[in-house]
C-alpha cells in the first residue's frame, strides 16, 4: 500500500470501496465533484465537450501519457503526487511555448479492483497543480483496464504573444535556465536505493515545481527558442539545437550543483553533474536570448549558441558529453 501521508493535504472524505464498486458513472461523479473552475471555463465537465475561453484566438495544446510502473510507482508516490506531477509536466509544455495554461482534460484508465480513493486523490492532485498553473480541469474520460494510465491534455492561451518554438536560436544567443535541474534524478537515485531522504530531493522527484510564469515572461523578453527540460538538459537542448540548426555549448561551471546533491552523488557513486545534465522531470525551462538581453531574475546563463560544426549539437565545456543523455521511453530499462 502506498504511503498516503507524504503529500496529501487531507480534508476530503475518502471514497469507500473499489473503482469497480463505484462504477463508471459513480467514479465520474466522484471525480468531477472535486473540481474547481476559473472564469475561462464556459462549460465544464458533464456535456459532450467543454468550452473554454481562447481570448488570443490561438490555442496551445499538448498531450502527455503516464503509466504505472513506467512513469510512476504507487509505492514511491501517492496518488495525489502522481496527479500533481502529471498536471505539472503538461502545464510546463504550455508554459515552454510562452503561453498561460487554461484547461486540462484527463483520460484515465484504472483497474476495477483499485481502491476508489486512488483516482479521487489523483484528481485532487491534478486540480491543485492546475490551479498553481492558473488552469482548471474541464473534462475527460475513464475506462477500466489493467494498468493505471493517466493521459492529460493541457490547453493554454498565448495572451497576444508569439509562441516561442525550439527553432529560433541563433549563433551568439545566450542559453539560460530557470527552475530546478537534476533534483528529480537525484531523488530517483535515493528512492531506487531504498532510502526516503534527503527529503528535498525525494519530494522533487515526487512533485516537480515548474516555473510556469517564467515561460510567458521569457517570451515577453524576446526569447528566441524555449523548451522545458523533461528528457534532460542535454537532450532537450539537443532538440533546440536540431530545430534551430545550431550547436549549443554548456558551461558546466555555470550549473548549480548543490552541496547536498554532491553528498548524495558521493554516497551512491554518481557524478552529480550527470543528474544536472541528463536528469529529466524537473521541468525547468531553458531558453535562448539575444546576446544583449538582460536576463530576468532567477534565470542563470549556462551557455552559448554557436554555429553548427563537426562536433555534436550539444557540447559541455566545448567537448562531447560522454555519457548517455536523456531517456528513450521504449528502451529496455524502466525509468522509474
Amino acid at each position: 500500500m502506498q504511503d498516503l501521508s507524504g503529500g496529501y493535504p487531507g480534508g476530503h472524505p475518502r471514497s469507500p470501496g473499489t473503482v469497480g464498486e463505484l462504477g463508471e458513472f459513480g467514479l465520474i461523479r466522484e471525480l468531477t465533484s472535486r473540481l474547481t473552475t476559473t472564469p475561462a471555463v464556459r462549460i465544464g465537465p458533464g456535456d459532450d465537450a467543454a468550452v473554454i475561453a481562447a481570448p488570443d484566438r490561438r490555442i496551445v495544446a499538448s498531450t502527455d501519457i503516464l503509466l504505472e510502473g513506467r512513469h510512476f510507482r504507487r509505492d514511491w508516490s501517492t496518488a495525489y503526487d502522481v496527479g500533481r506531477k502529471a498536471a505539472a509536466q503538461n502545464c510546463a509544455d504550455i508554459a515552454a511555448m510562452g503561453a498561460v495554461p487554461t484547461a486540462l482534460l484527463l483520460g484515465l484508465v484504472v483497474p476495477a479492483e483499485l481502491p476508489a480513493n486512488w483516482p479521487t486523490e489523483l484528481m485532487d492532485g491534478i486540480r491543485d497543480e492546475a490551479q498553481v498553473a492558473s488552469a482548471a480541469v474541464v473534462g475527460g474520460d475513464v475506462a477500466r483496464g489493467d494498468t493505471i494510465t493517466v493521459s492529460i491534455t493541457a490547453l493554454g492561451d498565448m495572451r497576444n504573444q508569439d509562441p516561442v518554438t525550439r527553432a529560433g536560436a541563433r549563433p551568439g544567443d545566450t542559453v539560460a535556465v530557470t527552475g530546478w535541474l537534476g533534483w528529480s534524478a537525484a531523488g530517483h537515485a535515493v528512492l531506487s536505493r531504498g532510502f526516503r531522504s534527503p527529503r528535498a530531493f525525494v519530494e522533487a522527484h515526487r512533485r516537480p515545481e515548474p516555473p510556469y510564469h517564467a515561460g510567458p515572461a521569457a517570451a515577453a523578453l524576446g526569447a528566441t527558442a524555449m523548451t522545458d527540460v523533461s528528457d534532460g538538459l542535454i537532450a532537450d537542448l539537443g532538440h533546440i539545437a536540431e530545430s534551430s540548426k545550431v550547436r549549443i555549448d554548456v558551461r558546466s561551471g555555470a550549473l548549480d550543483v548543490p552541496a547536498q546533491m554532491s553528498d548524495i552523488g558521493q554516497a551512491v557513486g554518481v557524478d552529480p553533474l550527470h543528474w544536472v545534465l541528463t536528469g529529466g522531470e524537473d521541468h525547468a525551462i531553458v531558453a535562448t536570448f539575444p546576446p544583449q538581453q538582460k536576463l530576468p531574475a532567477r534565470w542563470r546563463k549556462i551557455g552559448e549558441v554557436l554555429a553548427p560544426s563537426a562536433l555534436p549539437q550539444v557540447t559541455v565545456d566545448g567537448a562531447p558529453w560522454d555519457k548517455a543523455g536523456g531517456w528513450d521511453h521504449f528502451g529496455d530499462q524502466d525509468e522509474d
Copy 2:
C-alpha cells in the same frame, strides 16, 4: 493476425519490424511523417505544444479513451478502422456541441512487440477521419505498455454560434435524430457470433460515419439541446432529460428499422428495435428543436419533450423501456 484487407486504402509503405525496434523517437517520426495539415494549424507536431487557430475566441474540447479488448478487438477491426473510429467518436462530441472540429491530439500506449505497421495504420485512420471532419492531428505522446490504449483529445471552433448543451430542452420541443442508429450494435451481434456479413452492418461497427456537419447546422437552426448517440439512444436522451429536467418520449414507429436489420434480429433472436434504442457507437446526433422549427433535410422526428412526471425520464410510446439501456464501461461484461 488481423485482417488488413478490410478497409485500409494502402499506398503507404509498411514500417518494418516492431514498435520496440523503432524506438520512441523512431515511432514518433513514423507517425508524424504521415500527417497532413490545415490552415488552422499554426504549429504542428514536434515542439513542446501545438498552436491552433481559435477564431471564435472559445475552444471546444473533449477526450475519449479506447482500450484493446474493451473498446476494440484486433481480430475484428484493422488498425486503420480503429483509428477512424477513435477519431470519429471524438469529432462527434465536438459536432454535438454545434462546433466544427479543428485539431486532434493522440496519447498512444503500445506494447514493444507490436508490429510497427499497427500504430502507423492507426494514425492513417485517425488522420483520414480527422480530414472528413475538417480537422488535423497536431500532436501527442507515445509510451510503451501492455495494452494498446488510444486516448484522443479533439478541439473545435464554435464559429460564432452558441454551444448547444444537453440542458436546454423544453416541454413541447421536437426530438429529432440524424445519422445511423443500431447499425454498429447489429454489426457487433454479427461479429460476436463469428460471422463477417451482412457487410454493411459489420462495416458500420468497424467504422462509424457520424454526421459531423449536422451539429453546427442544428445549432444554427436553434436546437435547444443536442448530444451524440454514443451510449445508446435511450441512455443519451436520458442525459438530455436529466440535464434539462424534462421527460422525453420516443415513438418507436418513427424509428428506422431497415429490413436487413430485422433479418439479422430474427437470425440471432434479438428484437432489432433493441439495437436501435440501446446500441451505441454509431454516433448519430440527436437534438431537440422548438416545436415550430422545420427540421433540416435528413433529420427525422422521433419523439417529443414532455414535462417531468413519475415515469422514467425517457419512455418509449409512453411506457418505460423494459430492457437495460446503454453501457456501463465498468460493468463485468466486456462490450466488444
